[in-house]
């Protein structure tokens, strides 16, 4: 499924995306993400600094659902995702590490905020909702 430029803009708008994952026992979890990186027309990247429920779930069950909201709050996009791989170096990793560093350095926390890894997701489906 292709990610159009419109969705790409929504990814960039800075409004946290809601990511829903599910454990192997079927217990859902919803978390807000501040950085979702566009990789290409069929892939997204999510950063993780801490080992949390989202990470644990995704390692058990690779399927996830992401809700994106536009600036006006009138349109939403639903992305069906599948976890593909974890990367700890390369272009995407460097880019996301740099973003994290830019924020952390403002708080004087460059040492605390270290990017542990980047998870690459394949985009399986895109839904558009108009409220």
């Amino acid at each position: 499924m292709m990610l159009h430029d419109t969705v790409r803009d929504v990814l960039d708008n800075g409004i946290p995306a809601a990511l829903t994952t599910c454990s192997k026992d079927g217990e859902p979890n919803c978390a807000y993400l501040s950085v979702v990186q566009y990789v290409d027309e069929t892939h997204l990247a999510l950063s993780f600094q801490f080992f949390n429920t989202t990470i644990r779930n995704i390692l058990e069950n690779p399927h996830a659902y992401m809700m994106l909201t536009d600036m006006m709050g009138t349109t939403q996009w639903g992305l069906r995702l599948r976890f593909q791989s974890e990367v700890t170096d390369g272009e995407i990793f460097e880019d996301m590490a740099m973003r994290l560093d830019a924020i952390a350095s403002m708080q004087g926390m460059s040492d605390v905020f270290k990017l542990r890894g980047v998870h690459i997701y394949e985009v399986l489906d895109v839904e558009h909702f108009v409220w």
């Binding site: 960039d12 708008n13 800075g14 560093d101 605390v112």
Partner: protein, 369 residues
């Protein structure tokens, strides 16, 4: 909630393509204008300000700045800005701090939206209020796009645009701002090379002016020396011309004095002087006039001697000079000027101080002061 219909997909695709084309045309126009602006003059600050103005007018980038790497290589300072109070852009940015500092450190473009919530998130993790570091920029920016300015791979600065929540920076903006940044980097490099050249020209001009000044000084010294040499020759000539007649006057008056002495002896022996009081008076007149001639001739001889000293000494190298002696030489030469109207008092200074000008020069100095 309703899912959008997929009808008229071709039409919307066409609309999207049209919008894209329009955006690209506008971009090309602006980039052309920006590159023209940057190349129109070497006055860098004005050109950068014009570019920031163009970015505002065409893309609504209301808050933009160009920062340049300081000479210490550790901080960046704002060189041009638009849409900020002067107070908001005064601080330096350390490399590696904030969006601009991170871009400078890593030499990579960075585009961030939703900065406010990201900072709140980081502060929550840290368990503190979001800090407001005194970095140049909007105190509460939500979006930022910063590009490193590189010249042959070396970082020279950062070009940054910021927004409050009114606009977000799109991925298309990266290309646009990146291209403007490349133009700006070249313009800055050219301006710096121009400044360097200007400095060199200024230095050369100053050197040349100094050399010219020295030459003129040397020339005037040469002219002065020539004048003094001519004057010396003239004085020496005059002294020589006077010396010969004065010699004959002196020797004649000497002869006259001796003859007068013998005459007085003879006239005394013959008793004529006693008998003839008139001859006594005549003899006295003769004797006193001879003394007057002698004293006058001696005075002329003294002056001639000093004139010759004046002419000859000017050729000498710098040497120690007895000031008192120079003063008395000067006074002797000025005797006719001083006359009887002016009384000159000289006072001895125990151990007279000695200076080291040329003797004749010192005599002239005393004569003119």
């Amino acid at each position: 909630m309703s899912s959008t219909s997929s009808g008229s997909a071709d039409e919307s695709e066409l609309e999207a393509l049209k919008a894209q084309l329009e955006a690209q045309t506008r971009e090309a126009t602006v980039l052309h204008r920006v590159s023209t602006l940057l190349n129109s003059s070497l006055r860098l600050d004005q050109r950068l300000a014009d570019v920031l103005l163009a970015m505002d007018e065409f893309f609504g980038f209301r808050h933009a700045m160009v920062l340049l790497l300081d000479s210490d290589g550790e901080t960046l300072s704002v060189a041009a800005h638009r849409g900020y109070d002067d107070a908001a852009i005064g601080a330096k940015v350390p490399l590696g701090v904030g969006v601009i500092g991170t871009v400078a450190k890593r030499r990579r473009m960075l585009r961030m939206n939703g900065l406010r919530s990201k900072r709140r998130y980081a502060a929550t993790i840290q368990g503190s209020q979001p800090q407001s570091l005194s970095l140049p920029g909007l105190p509460n920016a939500d979006g930022q796009l910063a590009v490193p300015l590189l010249v042959e791979g070396d970082l020279i600065g950062v070009f940054s645009v910021e927004s409050d929540q009114s606009i977000i920076f799109r991925h298309d903006d990266e290309r646009l701002v990146g291209t403007v940044a490349n133009h700006a980097a070249s313009a800055i490099r050219n301006a710096r090379m121009y400044d360097l050249l200007e400095d060199k020209v200024r230095q050369r001009t100053a050197d040349l002016e100094q050399a010219n000044l020295e030459l003129r000084d040397a020339q005037s010294q040469l002219v002065q020396a020539g004048k003094m040499a001519s004057l010396g020759e003239l004085v020496a000539g005059v002294a020589h011309e006077i010396n010969t007649p004065i010699g004959s006057v002196t020797s004649s008056s000497d002869t006259q004095a001796r003859v007068l002495a013998k005459l007085r002896d003879l006239l005394t022996a013959d008793g004529i002087l006693e008998r003839e009081p008139r001859s006594q008076r005549l003899l006295r007149v003769m004797e006193s006039s001879t003394e007057a001639i002698d004293s006058g001739a001696s005075r002329v001889a003294r002056i001639v001697k000093r004139l010759r000293a004046f002419a000859r000494l000017d050729e000498a190298d710098i040497q120690k000079v007895a000031i008192a002696q120079s003063i008395s030489s000067a006074l002797a030469m000025l005797e006719h000027e001083i006359g009887e109207r002016i009384e000159v008092q000289t006072e001895s200074l125990g151990r007279p101080p000695r200076s080291r000008p040329r003797p004749a020069a010192s005599i002239r100095s005393f004569s003119t002061c």
